[in-house]
C-alpha cells in the first residue's frame, strides 16, 4: 500500500502542488492596472405624491382613457369589458370611455381639463403592452 502511494500518489500530489503554486504565483504577479470609469452618475426624479384616494367608487364617475397604444382599435375592448363589469357589479358607478388625442406619448391637456370640468372622480388609463 505504502509502495503504491509512493509510485502513483506521490507524483500526483507533487503535480497538484505545482499547479496550485504556479497558479497562485501567476495571480500574485499579475500587474495591477488603474483605469477610468465609464460610468456616468444618474439623477433621481423629484418625488411627487399621489392624489388622495376616494372612500368608495359608488355613485362616482370614472373616466377610462385609451392612450392610443397600438392604434385606436388595439385595446378599446378592454375598456368596454371594464364598463360591462361596472354595469353588472357596481351599477351606481358612471363610466365614460375617452380616446386621448395624439400618439400614446402625446399630452392631451384638453382631455384632462374635460375630465376635471365634467366632475370626473377617478381615472383609469390604459393600455400599454
Amino acid at each position: 500500500m505504502k509502495r503504491k502511494f509512493l509510485i502513483f500518489g506521490c507524483p500526483f500530489l507533487i503535480a497538484v502542488l505545482l499547479v496550485v503554486a504556479f497558479g497562485f504565483s501567476q495571480s500574485d504577479s499579475a500587474p495591477l492596472t488603474t483605469v477610468l470609469s465609464p460610468a456616468v452618475a444618474n439623477k433621481l426624479a423629484e418625488r411627487l405624491p399621489l392624489a388622495p384616494r376616494l372612500d368608495t367608487l359608488e355613485g362616482k364617475t370614472v373616466y377610462m382613457v385609451d392612450i392610443n397604444w397600438g392604434g385606436p382599435e388595439a385595446a378599446l375592448s378592454i375598456f368596454e369589458e371594464m364598463q360591462a363589469w361596472f354595469a353588472k357589479n357596481m351599477p351606481t358607478v358612471k363610466t365614460v370611455i375617452k380616446m386621448k388625442r395624439g400618439g400614446y406619448e402625446a399630452d392631451d391637456p384638453a382631455l384632462w381639463k374635460e375630465i376635471k370640468d365634467s366632475r370626473g372622480d377617478a381615472a383609469i388609463l390604459g393600455v400599454s403592452g
Partner: protein, 446 residues
C-alpha cells in the same frame, strides 16, 4: 402613460390607475418611477400582449387576475382608486443630488477589470481596451475640447446623465478608436443613446465630408462589413456610449423583444461621395451643409432588405426598389436606400434620374400598398391613426378607405434618402426603413 397619470394626480387631484401589459409594468414602477416620473403611479398588470388581441382575450384578462397583486383585475382597479395612500406614496420633495461616480476604478488585474466591465454591462461583450489614464489622455489629443465639457445631458430613458468629452473618450478607447476618430465620436455623442424600443429598433450612422479620408473611413467595397477599422470602431463606440452614458441595460431600461444585431456597429459607414453621378449631391450637402464640411448623420429604423442580385436589364433597379419598399412600414414616409455607385450611375445615365430627389419623388409616387397592410403595422397605427382621428390628411382619408384600396404611403418624398456606398464589384442595393435625422457638424468637435 405614467406621465399622463401624474398630470391627473398632481394637477387635477384625480386618483388614477394605469393598466398595462406585464412587459411594461416593471419599467414603469421601477426605473421610470425613480428617474423620470417621480410619482409612484399605481399599476395593474395584465398578461402580455394586450394591444391587438381579440375581445375574447380582453374579456379573459378582465375576468382574470392582476399579475401584480394577485387580486381579481377589477377588484384590484377598485382598490387602486380607493385604498388609502401608503407613506411612500405621500413623499414629496426635490430630487437628491446625483451621487458622483469615482473617476478612477480601484486598481485590479486586466482579467478582473475585463470581468468587471462585463458585469457592469459597460461593454458589447467583446473584449474592450481598458481605458487607462494614459490611453484616455492620448485619445483626448484628438480634440481641442476640454475633458470636463458636457456634450449633452442624456435624459432618455430617464434621469439626467452628463456625457462629458472625457466619458466619450473613455468609450472611444474601450472600442479601440484612434484619436483621429474622436471628433466624429464627439459629434456622434450628441445623438446618444441609440434607438431603444420593445420593437427592436436600430441605428444607422452616415459620415460625409473630408473627415472620411482623414479618419480612414471606408466608403467603398465592404463599407458595411467588418473590413475597416474606422467604420467598425466608430460604430462600436456609439454602442458603448449608449450603454454607459445612455444607461441602457437589458430588462432595466432596454426592453427589445428580439434585439437587433445592427446595434453592434449601428450600420456605420461613409458615403462614397467621389463616385456620385454628376448632379447627385452628397447627403450632407442635401441637408444644407457645405461640401467641405464634415457631418455625421444618425438614423433610426428596423429593417434592411437586400436586392440580393445585380441589376437586370429588363426590370430596372428603381422598379425593384419600389417593389421591395412595399415591405417597409412607411412610418413617417421614411426610407433610406443604400446603393452601389454602379446602380446610381445606371439610374442617372440610363433612366434619367438626374438627382437623388428625382428618384425619391418617383418612389414616393409609385410605391403602393393596401390600406389594410399600412394600418396593420402597430407603430403606424399608434402614430398615424391618431393623426387620422384629428382629421389630418392624407391619414384621415386613408383610414376611411376599404381594406384593399391602394395608397401611396411614402407621401413625403423628402423622407426618402438615397445614399451611395460600395465598391463597384456588384450592382446591388439595400432598401431600409431608416429615418435619418439632421446631420451634426463634426468640424466643431476637432
Amino acid at each position: 402613460m405614467s406621465r399622463h397619470a401624474r398630470t391627473l394626480e398632481q394637477q387635477f387631484k384625480i386618483p388614477t390607475v394605469c393598466v398595462a401589459g406585464s412587459n411594461i409594468v416593471g419599467y414603469a414602477t421601477g426605473y421610470d418611477f425613480l428617474y423620470t416620473n417621480g410619482s409612484p403611479i399605481r399599476y395593474i398588470a395584465l398578461p402580455f400582449p394586450v394591444a391587438g388581441q381579440p375581445k375574447s382575450v380582453h374579456r379573459q384578462y378582465i375576468e382574470g387576475k392582476d399579475l401584480l397583486s394577485g387580486k381579481q383585475t377589477m377588484q384590484a382597479i377598485v382598490d387602486a382608486l380607493t385604498k388609502p395612500l401608503t407613506e411612500n406614496e405621500k413623499v414629496k420633495g426635490p430630487a437628491p443630488e446625483a451621487k458622483p461616480e469615482a473617476r478612477l476604478l480601484p486598481p485590479d488585474t486586466e482579467e478582473n477589470l475585463q470581468r468587471l466591465f462585463k458585469e457592469k454591462d459597460w461593454t458589447d461583450y467583446a473584449p474592450v481596451i481598458l481605458p487607462t489614464e494614459k490611453r484616455v489622455a492620448r485619445m483626448l489629443q484628438g480634440t481641442s475640447h476640454k475633458p470636463d465639457e458636457i456634450i449633452k445631458i442624456v435624459t432618455w430613458p430617464g434621469g439626467a446623465r452628463p456625457l462629458t468629452v472625457e466619458k466619450a473618450a473613455i468609450c472611444a478607447v474601450m472600442a479601440g478608436a484612434k484619436p483621429e476618430y474622436l471628433p466624429i465620436i464627439l459629434a456622434l455623442a450628441t445623438s446618444v443613446p441609440f434607438g431603444n424600443s420593445t420593437t427592436s429598433m436600430a441605428n444607422m450612422i452616415v459620415v460625409n465630408g473630408p473627415i472620411r479620408k482623414e479618419a480612414g473611413m471606408n466608403p467603398r467595397g465592404h463599407a458595411l462589413g467588418p473590413y475597416n477599422d474606422a467604420n467598425a470602431v466608430i460604430g462600436r463606440t456609439f454602442t458603448l456610449m449608449s450603454k454607459t452614458a445612455g444607461g441602457l441595460h437589458n430588462r432595466v431600461t432596454a426592453w427589445s423583444s428580439l434585439g437587433n444585431n445592427l446595434q453592434y456597429n449601428n450600420l456605420c459607414f461613409a458615403e462614397n461621395e467621389e463616385e456620385l453621378p454628376a448632379g447627385w449631391d452628397p447627403l450632407h450637402v442635401q441637408m444644407g451643409f457645405k461640401p467641405l464640411e464634415s457631418v455625421v448623420t444618425v438614423g433610426v429604423g428596423w429593417s434592411y432588405i437586400s436586392s440580393v442580385g445585380s441589376v437586370q436589364h429588363l426590370y430596372p433597379p428603381h422598379k425593384l426598389i419600389r417593389d421591395y419598399m412595399k415591405s417597409l412600414s412607411a412610418q413617417g414616409s421614411s426610407a433610406t436606400i443604400l446603393m452601389d455607385p454602379t446602380v446610381a450611375a445606371l439610374l442617372k445615365n440610363v433612366h434619367g434620374f438626374n438627382t437623388k430627389q428625382m428618384l425619391a419623388q418617383w418612389l414616393s409616387q409609385n410605391v403602393e400598398k393596401t390600406a389594410e397592410s399600412y394600418w396593420g403595422n402597430a407603430v403606424v397605427a399608434s402614430i398615424s391613426a391618431s393623426l387620422a382621428l384629428q382629421g389630418l390628411e392624407p391619414y384621415a382619408t386613408w383610414k376611411k378607405l376599404p381594406e384593399e384600396a391602394l395608397i401611396k404611403p411614402f407621401n413625403q418624398p423628402q423622407g426618402i434618402q438615397i445614399v451611395v456606398v460600395g465598391g463597384k464589384t456588384q450592382s446591388t442595393w439595400f432598401a431600409t426603413d431608416f429615418r435619418l435625422g439632421r446631420g451634426v457638424l463634426i468640424d466643431s468637435w476637432k
